[in-house]
Subunit: 636 residues, 2 copies
């Protein structure tokens, strides 16, 4: 039973959260006080009675998790941290200032924030990932609480989350929708039609509870009902007022993302009953033992015979299974194409560590982010082209400092007959432009296995691009391929040019190398399997050794891929050594025209990224000595 | 009433579609016959009785539209074209061959295909766009038919479409879900639970009809019911059997995306009753006059005074409104941030040509693709960071050869306090890596207006990046800014280095230029407002004139942005002229560390992309003459 005393305490706490949300934003001069105020009652009850969380030990396995999906209500989150006694009032008032941990939207620079939010519609799908970990891997009784805004339910990713949470009966997941009716520019699509939300949620297999989200008693009852169900997730659809508690703000337009001016602040705080100094003792979770995770075993990677023809996607599947046998913390996910990515072998061997995400790539990546919150090592795979569906999630994963491994198969025109919709031709560009990412593109099965092994403990967003077609094994199983390195596959003292390739085009480069040898042209061939970070030293050396003649060839659009990475290696930035050598004469071979269907060979040829094109490019370089171009320059 | 005779004819046609789907894939050696066979009855009834389409005149405004969202069932689509008499049997059998119009998944190289499909979950949101055009702009009685697979309903984008179609009461939109139960790797999430599909669809405001999708009578009744409703969209949930009609295939696993071998083909065709040679006369639409579209008026772009401080997003809003007044075919869409992108001015002036897409960026871009099917000129805007949510739709739009204009505001660290989740720092990379795209990044209000004017008739995916902060107007309203050009803002005969910037960093470059002048260092400043295509000639000239000393500065990650575009201008490809000049000594200034919150100035400084950083970079170049580096090279 909720006593009057409790209700009063909760009310006082909620008012403090409102006052502090206003104070922090007014001093910052920007931010979202009204979006914080609507949800203050929900948070007050949550932290007073329901949330089990050890603030001194944020990574404690038994902790509940709280994700503020409506990240713009960050002031409320920070006010909650202050109420929990873990940040000072002084720090609260540093909101949005340079160097403060209290950024405009929450990020994990704060130890209690598991994932960055602020791109709407991401908190719930990530919460699904954490809840999957809790229910199926940790097998611990903790709950995952996600506070959403109403506007963000327009994002399809939210419905991917509703769908998957229902499918996996995540009774440990509780979504709270703060239906304050007003979006950034006016009324949301559904306004206060909480019934519409409830009907939709129920259609996806959820318990849905409609409440007045500014009524503490109703909040209490709803949270209690959420905890008592054990066969499905719960969503609490909380009808609230934006700016609740201050008449000049309450349920009024034009107040989204706007801080109060000092004189407005003063009046508002008075109306809310003034500042308070409540510190809440948030309940710590009861101790419960996580499901025993077996110890790591020695890794026995698959081994391939030189000369055999093996697709790197096949080697990925084999290596992932081997990694799974050695590492109990490795988890695999796939978007209903596991028989193409070959994640199916892992799924068969370790069904308890495999999650089928169906054709929902946003949820796929979000689940990986959620799993790594609990320190698992998630490998998420689909066709490389379809990872583009989750690009915003990848971008945000970087801001979350998440450690996830993404594997995209069927890259490039070399997939052949299926046509351009299935061909990733922008993935190297997209993944390179992710903060602190690693981009790998192996050409051979043994190399793939060695890279997969390194991926598991590599921090950040790590992307592996695999190839559909079978290609010859060219490396011995004992060779090493450190991330950041490259392999000089062919070299001599007389090299006249260097061909830089990766993945499928490396095999074209090797063919071209053989053919050029017959014409007495010797070329160096570099396998740039680590596209980011790229092996700057080896590239510089090659440029120095081969008169600056470089040919880069890639199965990717001309923009942002391997060619761009190589060019970058020769541009001065604070991070790369300066190149000192003969003038660079670089030719980029990449895909320029929209491909259609055809055989892999036909399409590589049509795109001018096959051995023929490489031979031609090298010849054009070695036949045009530096002197000629220098002369041309002098003559202009 | 459906007569027995009709049913027999439809059955014969459906069997022909099955036989032809098998024949085309067997000779191709790959493809998806079984996914085609499940839906053959649906298509047979559709083209025999319901579809109104003039195959001789695919762009006829009154035509119904048919979108094969399950693009892998392309053989069925091509068999339908053969049955309609518009492709020959010979062409049918060219499926998936190099140069054939019949690609593995449909693309608009065929005149009757409006948009490419093959990335699942896109057909319905694009259909929403076409239906918006039909109901609200064309005001014509045509219908939009979309055939979906069951697996693809896991995509959130499908629920964005359900949501928006319900919201806009698109009674001219009919979705058909081919629930054949089997996905690529086994049973789909919902299997044959058609009730689950229906409950969900109804929750989003649709009429939902469950039928046996291999029962011709039930199909007929469902299509008829769909046409008779006038207050909401209809979805027909058709329970079917994959591989229907051939016992060895019917409802069996392991047959996704697999062609029959010739001996299997022979037996299957016999079981289906052999080849048939039916040609259907598809009904042409009744003539109806499109809503009158007013003539274009002279364009009166907004004019800004030099020296005034105006954000380019503000100028975008003004220019879009001006464009809307001049061009009745210009349409605007926004994802619930129109008061930040300033699309709200257009919305207010031309409410009948504005569509609120709420926070659903995939649907935002898909609607734009759908609108351009009907020759409208859609401008879709949101925060640049959130366009990453729709990257797969942009990728597919390029394959669709769609003409859409995307406008992203709030780019870069210079947005300030809101923090990294709101900062686009990868958009230039992502959009450059889209086939045939245009990427524009203005620095000034007059320039923005001139670029917006050019966007409306520019083909392909055209992206404009705008800035949150107000910046000084530096150009007169009479200056021209052709796409593909650049502006040399400052130059002299004595320039020792060139600074290349765009958008917000151009203003930092100009500050640096002034400061360097005080130290007797003269620099050229280039405004590279057209990032793609970039002005290669002007960059080459600058490199030749300034000893190869280039400094590129951009508010973007180091990868794939303006710096990459400039480097590319000096790499040899078939598309760029060869650079002949002094050795390039290029310094890229870009964002390397994850930003937090702060003032725009603080964050530009912290990222080392402000005037201070430019001054330092230029000094490091001009103080390190070429001879020194050449000496270093000789000494190594």
């Amino acid at each position: 039973m909720t006593t009057q005393e409790q209700l009063h305490q909760w009310h006082e706490l909620a008012q403090q959260l409102r006052v502090d949300s206003i104070r922090a934003t007014t001093i910052a001069g920007s931010g979202h006080p009204t979006s914080s105020m609507s949800a203050a009652d929900l948070i007050a009850v949550l932290i007073s009675k329901y949330l089990c969380y050890d603030f001194d030990n944020p990574h404690y396995p038994n902790n509940d998790r709280f994700i503020l999906s409506k990240g713009h209500a960050a002031p409320l989150l920070y006010a909650m941290y202050k109420a929990a006694g873990v940040i000072t009032d002084e720090e609260l008032l540093s909101l949005r200032k340079l160097g403060s941990r209290l950024e405009g939207h929450p990020t994990p620079v704060l130890p209690w924030v598991d994932v960055a939010t602020g791109s709407l519609g991401q908190g719930l799908p990530i919460g699904v990932g954490v809840a999957l970990a809790g229910k199926y891997l940790d097998q611990l009784p903790y709950h995952v609480w996600v506070l959403l805004g109403d506007s963000e339910t327009a994002e399809g990713s939210v419905w991917e989350a509703f769908d998957h949470a229902g499918h996996y009966t995540l009774d440990n997941l509780i979504a709270i929708i703060d239906v304050n009716r007003l979006g950034q520019r006016g009324q949301t699509e559904l306004g206060w039609n909480t019934q519409a939300y409830a009907t939709r949620a129920r259609a996806f297999g959820w318990q849905a509870i409609e409440i007045d989200g500014n009524n503490l008693m109703e909040i209490d009852q709803a949270f209690s009902a959420a905890l008592s169900i054990n066969d499905r997730p719960t969503v609490i659809i909380a009808r609230t007022k934006k700016g609740k508690g201050v008449v000049a703000l309450e349920d009024l337009g034009g107040w989204h993302g706007k801080a109060l001016k000092p004189e407005q602040e003063k009046k508002a705080i008075a109306e809310l009953g003034g500042e308070r100094h409540i510190i809440i003792q948030v309940d710590k979770p009861e101790q419960a033992k996580p499901a025993t995770i077996a110890n790591s075993q020695p890794l026995q990677l698959p081994i391939y015979e030189k000369g055999a023809k093996v697709a790197t996607r096949r080697a990925y599947g084999d290596a992932l299974k081997a990694l799974g046998a050695a590492r109990p913390d490795v988890i695999a996910l796939d978007a209903e194409v596991s028989n193409s990515t070959y994640t199916e072998d892992f799924a068969e061997a370790f069904p308890e560590r495999y999650f089928e995400m169906y054709i929902a790539e946003q949820q796929l990546v979000a689940a990986a982010v959620g799993l790594q919150v609990r320190q698992y090592k998630p490998f998420a795979s689909t066709f490389a082209a379809f990872l583009s569906r989750a690009y915003d999630f990848v971008r945000m994963a970087a801001i979350s400092r998440a450690n996830i491994k993404l594997v995209g198969s069927h890259a490039g025109v070399s997939i052949g007959q299926d046509g351009p919709s299935q061909m990733a031709l922008e993935d190297l560009a997209a993944f390179q432009a992710v903060w602190s990412s690693t981009v790998l593109y192996p050409s051979d099965a043994n190399q793939t296995a060695k890279l997969v092994a390194q991926m598991s403990d590599r921090n950040g967003v790590v992307y592996l691009r695999t190839t559909r077609e079978s290609t010859p094994v060219i490396y011995g199983a004992d060779e090493e391929f450190p991330i950041g390195g490259s392999k000089v596959v062919h070299s001599s003292q007389q090299d006249q040019a260097t061909v830089i390739a990766a993945g499928i085009t490396l095999h074209e480069a090797l063919k071209a190398c053989d053919r050029l040898k017959n014409e007495d042209i010797t070329v160096r061939v570099i396998d740039a399997y680590s596209v980011k970070p790229i092996d700057v030293q080896t590239l510089h050396q090659a440029a120095r050794d081969t008169n600056g003649n470089l040919v880069v060839v890639e199965d990717h659009w001309s923009e942002g891929g391997l060619g761009a990475a190589v060019l970058d290696a020769f541009a001065g930035t604070s991070n790369t050594p300066i190149y000192n050598g003969p003038q660079l004469r670089l030719i980029k071979l990449a895909v320029h025209d929209m491909p259609g269907s055809g055989t892999p060979e036909e399409l590589l040829h049509a795109a001018k990224i096959d051995a023929d094109a490489i031979v031609e490019a090298v010849k054009s370089q070695v036949r045009k000595p530096i002197e000629a171009s220098a002369k041309l320059y002098a003559e202009r």
